[in-house]
Point group: C2
Chain length 107, copies 2
Amino acid sequence: MKRYGMVIGIDKERLNEYKTYHSEIWPEVAEALKKANIRNYSIYYKDGLLFSYYEYIGTDFENDMRIMDENETVKKWQEIMNTVQQPLKTRKEGEWWSEMDEIFHLE
Amino acid sequence: MKRYGMVIGIDKERLNEYKTYHSEIWPEVAEALKKANIRNYSIYYKDGLLFSYYEYIGTDFENDMRIMDENETVKKWQEIMNTVQQPLKTRKEGEWWSEMDEIFHLE
């Protein structure tokens, strides 16, 4: 299992809209996340930033993400979220959410 | 079980020092966290911010935190970390790390 911590900005004026979407996540999106071996997935908000934490239980992360991103419903969902999210200027090439560095873990 | 997401700033010039401390956490501090019913505790870094995620499996969070904070070794540890961490100006009264709002969770 590998843990991921990610961060991205959000248009504060659309936070409530973003919350509403996530309180009623489309079933096919939730199912695609499960199929992509994502577990224990949380998103937190503070001061214009979204922080996400999840655990990946599969063996080929890139491939699982590719399959998920090719799902038409997931694409529609992401298109909406992309208009609300504001990627950090410091993100690495190819990133949308920025992967953070894990500097501590205690079971 | 209750999940917590927290955020705080850090003196970037002392990030390596902070990392080193956390790669060799004092055994008594780790033990105190366990006794306080904290599990699956991760800290991430990006752009001058520390994000932490942990799961609380006890039944009296305030009391468990109080007992942990009264531990002399934990106090010494926190005194050092407090000189490296930079609390957000937007933190709530009584906070050091700022608690974030959970806006999504998927098992």
